[in-house]
């Protein structure tokens, strides 16, 4: 196992790591990081051209559809 270099910058906890941590152990700075990440995500989304934004087909549970549904008045 190699020792971490003292020159390595302290890593900022990822959103995933913060979400996986017991919230009672989160500092105000950690909560602010979570908030900032949500804001950054919003900005990234706003900067994307409309066409490239993820869209999702409406979920249809086919086995639950019947002929009656199709001809429902």
């Amino acid at each position: 196992m190699t020792e971490p270099s003292p020159l390595t910058e302290a890593t900022v906890d990822s959103l995933e790591e913060l979400f996986a941590r017991d919230p009672l152990k989160l500092s105000d700075i950690d909560i602010d990081k979570i908030i900032e990440e949500q804001r950054a995500q919003r900005k990234r989304l706003a900067a994307m051209p409309e066409k490239t934004r993820a869209t999702r087909a409406k979920k249809v549970d086919l086995p639950e559809l019947s002929a009656g549904d199709l001809f429902n008045d």
Binding site: I34, Q38, R56, N72
Partner: protein, 312 residues
């Protein structure tokens, strides 16, 4: 019923005395749906996610409003709301976060929706929350009012009850603001579903009586919760006094009909209301095997309008 439900008569346990929009709406939709979802308390696991998500969304925004009313700035109040949300969605016994199993409604999309919503409306909301005489913001207000209808079976007076999300002033008028979270696109069709609609008539009807202030209307404050984004839209849902009076007159019919069902012990299917109904998979089976299907695919909870909070 799963456990004693304070909203039902003690004399006649299937006669509901205290009605909220969820239980009344369930009965209006279909007596069988009401029997299964309210009297017996069955719900699907997906409904359970929607309910929990809705309760947490309301709870977090309520905490934000209280923090602001106490003088906290936006960022501090937001942090309070997010911290509360993270704590509420932490399964202490399991040592891990709430896993909803739902792509749209989960812990991550809840936090995202709250931050985006409160950043958009927290500081610069044209709707200003009414501050009550006790200095507290008019959010998550429980109401309970006696109706002028009595049970023919027990003589008890019916009660209308519920929780208003928020009272807010906008351009010198007071509105009821109702928050909704949905997976669906916030189109005209989405808002059209509220006219006519039981909940969006019940709230302004009760609001004008309980709060003794002229309620100008009800505003649907909707949040679309998609997998990768959240979006918000508000729309006023108009109701005239004439419409509210009509709703109240017809309420008498529904309460009478529900007592007839309780007296006969029979809650018939409205088989024109089955499309997209959660209980379709059960009601489409022969009566003798329905209980097994309920046990296999549904979970039980008690819906007590005098206790419950959260709509979906």
């Amino acid at each position: 019923m799963t456990e004693p439900n304070s909203s039902f008569s003690r004399q006649f346990p299937t006669v509901q005395i205290a009605w909220d929009s969820t239980s009344l709406g369930a009965y209006k939709k279909c007596p069988r749906f009401y029997e299964l979802s309210i009297i017996q308390g069955w719900q699907t696991r997906a409904q359970s996610v929607d309910l929990r998500f809705g309760i947490l969304y309301h709870g977090a925004t309520e905490r934000y409003d209280h923090a602001r009313a106490q003088g906290q700035d936006h960022q501090t109040a937001l942090r309070t709301a997010i911290r509360w949300t993270l704590e509420q969605t932490w399964e202490v016994a399991l040592g891990r976060a709430w896993a909803s199993g739902d792509n749209n409604k989960n812990r991550g999309t809840l936090v995202r929706t709250l931050v985006w919503y409160l950043d958009q409306f927290g500081e610069n909301d044209p709707f200003e929350t009414v501050i009550l005489a006790n200095g507290k913001p008019a959010v998550e207000l429980s109401f309970r009012m006696d109706l002028d209808y009595k049970s023919h079976l027990t003589g008890e007076q019916f009660i209308l009850c519920g929780h208003l999300d928020r009272l807010a002033n906008f351009q010198q008028k007071t509105y009821i603001v109702d928050k909704k979270t949905t997976r669906h696109t916030l189109s005209t069709d989405y808002f059209d579903q509220f006219s006519p609609d039981n909940q969006f008539s019940l709230y302004p009807f009760a609001g004008r009586i309980v709060y003794k202030v002229p309620i100008a209307g009800i505003v649907c404050d909707a949040a679309q919760v998609a997998v990768t984004f959240s979006r918000f839209e508000r729309q006023q849902i108009p109701r005239s006094d004439e419409q509210l009076d009509e709703w109240h007159r017809e309420l008498g019919f529904w309460l009478t009909a529900a007592q007839l069902n309780a007296r006969t012990g029979h809650w018939p299917q409205n088989d024109k209301a089955c499309f997209r109904c959660h209980f379709r998979s059960v009601c489409s089976k022969p009566p003798s095997v329905r209980e097994q299907w309920l046990q296999a695919g549904f979970v039980k909870r008690t819906w007590d309008p005098l206790q419950a909070r959260g709509d979906i």
